[in-house]
Subunit: 370 residues, 2 copies
């Protein structure tokens, strides 16, 4: 389970900031990481067959000592099936990927995952969005499919968690994003939080005082955070209405006290959703509608919950572009329709603060995802 | 090729507005047309198996004398294959659809098309967005998949145009949209225009004076209109940059004189697109990026053409939701990402005016689509 990897000597002294700096290659790399693409054709790192995962870093990159890989569920399940749930064989697949491609991208599913580690070096010319220092424990928020990665060892494979304990290094480009792991939250809770952190941060930026906000899938991971974020901005004169099919999740959400109404309805039933939102808003409908439902075919319900000058934000990965675009045309929905964007400056800090300030929310997340 | 259909007597006298009004059913129907869904389960008309296509209309509907069906390309090609390009058999499929379902929705492709006809009756309680009068020739802009339709006759099947000449009636719900056919444009040109009219109208609403606008697929049908619309709003201090792979389309666009640069690049090459937009904007990138490219895999190019506080509008039906959402995260794109929406109040009038005022544009459209 080991692989020869050229890594600099242990950087414990660097973490304390009192040793001489690690070497860098002269000059900046491309902020997108094009300089590490080894394919003959010009491609972005995610589309590339092979990345350069060697050291030292370019002067605008960040070097991470990697501790753990969180493999994407689709990818991990594929490897389990292929190997008959054999830990050693799963490790061998990952190491072969790294040797052949310089990144952990599943050949069959195309997907990656994220990693947890400690910042070892911040390039002297790094001008990216991250405010991290050497020694910080972080989780990357960009996919492993575009992250140069080299492992010296895979120490353990956790089948149930889809995680690998490892030693090695990874490189973050200048456009890459990562989040500092907060000290007051268990790591799995923080990871669950970062996975959806873009949604509540976007809600915070969109919602204005006094507005009516409808959240489809309001009792889920992203949904709960969106409801709390919406309440803060909409204020007492606003309304927060959640649509949530699961009785248990609806009850959890009710108990947080952030919603004016938690409606237990299947978001795939547009007629029921429209009628319920109509009743809850006295026919005015939502100013802002957030769709974080995790199942397909909820687009029309979102479109029917907003008024003609409102906005709908689609954050669920089950969203279909054509169902939104053609659906809006079919029902005469004039609202502004927005893509959810996982990249939102400061979204990790925003969501960590939400949990820090709201004890009930924190306890719910620790219970569910801890 | 005929089917027994109960239709009111010829309404020539009604068109002149001097006859007694046609009958209505008492009370309003649902603006979405739920009252005409005959399925046991509650569904929207588009998702329904069967619609009520009978007369008289409800008091908030519009009745149309149908002259022609423009069948969706995917649907028409499927029927051609199934029947070996047999006109009579294609007619029989359409008539059977109408008998069984009350609407023209292809059983295999699920798609419909649009229709051309003349307004015969506007319900006395109609409060929808259309400003039409009895006698107006219109094209519906909502899909046939949600339009109650009954045909007395199919007079001709035009294989090359994917059109059927027919007699019969159709019903437009209160949320439905349609466009008046302008007298100064040939019908096929007007239809080509209405097909993409939402795009330039949205561009007109989004772009501000002095902004840099990038249009991917700028030489196509929607793209050309978007470039012209962008120029009007961006003004002399703004910039309009088109990306267009076809030499001929690029030349046509150049000749219109609305672009500062027409870059002959394949929008599927994100690295090339980014470099070209960077050069054309001196590194500032686009304030507004419009993606109307008709091929898949152009999402990343659009995301790489905008600056961090800009906006990207995706109008191409080949857009993938996940490629946009995950792509933005992967390259650290903080821009606002919008769905194109075919429903835009007054978009038909806006695009007709564009062609009326711009002779070179009108001539280009007549040459290409006439």
């Amino acid at each position: 389970m080991t692989q020869e990897v050229q890594t600099p000597r242990s950087s414990a002294s660097n973490a304390r900031g009192n040793a001489r700096p690690l070497p860098e290659r002269p000059g900046n790399g491309s902020p997108l990481g094009l300089h590490r693409v080894l394919d003959r054709e010009r491609r972005l790192p995610q589309a590339a067959e092979r990345l350069d995962n060697t050291l030292p870093i370019w002067s605008n990159e960040i070097l991470i000592d990697v501790e753990r890989l969180n493999i994407d569920a689709a990818s991990f399940v594929q490897m389990e099936r292929e190997t008959g749930h054999d830990r050693a064989k799963i490790s061998a697949i990952v190491l072969r990927n790294l040797e052949e491609r310089g990144k952990q991208q599943n050949r069959i599913t195309g997907s990656g995952g994220m990693l947890v580690g400690r910042v070892r070096q911040v390039g002297s010319k790094y001008r990216g969005p991250l405010k991290v220092r050497v020694g910080d424990r972080i989780a990357t928020l960009v996919s492993l499919t575009l992250t140069p990665l080299a492992l010296a060892e895979i120490r353990a494979v956790h089948l149930e968690k889809h995680q690998l304990d490892v030693s090695g290094h990874a490189v973050l480009f200048e456009t890459g994003i990562a989040a500092k792991l907060p000290d007051f939250l268990p790591e799995p809770v923080a990871m669950a939080l970062f996975d959806v952190a873009g949604a509540p941060a976007t809600v915070d930026a969109m919602v204005k005082a006094g507005q009516r906000v409808v959240v489809l899938g309001g009792g889920g991971k992203a949904g709960t955070l969106c409801c709390v974020a919406a309440r803060r901005k909409a204020g007492k004169k606003g309304k927060v209405i959640a649509i949530e099919p699961s009785a248990r999740a609806a009850e959890d959400l009710e108990r947080l006290g952030c919603c004016d109404a938690v409606l237990q309805i299947d978001a795939r039933d547009p007629v029921a959703v429209q009628a319920a939102v109509e009743a809850a808003t006295r026919g005015k409908m939502g100013d802002v509608v957030i769709n974080v439902a995790s199942v397909p075919d909820t687009e029309t319900s979102a479109l029917l919950s907003v008024h003609g000058k409102g906005q709908v934000l689609f954050f669920g990965m089950a969203t279909s572009f054509t169902k939104v675009a053609l659906g809006a045309e079919g029902i005469g929905c004039g609202a502004k329709l927005l893509f959810g964007n996982g990249y939102y400056r400061g979204h990790d800090r925003f969501s960590v603060e939400l949990l820090r300030k709201n004890r009930a929310l924190r306890e719910l997340f620790c219970r569910r995802y801890g």
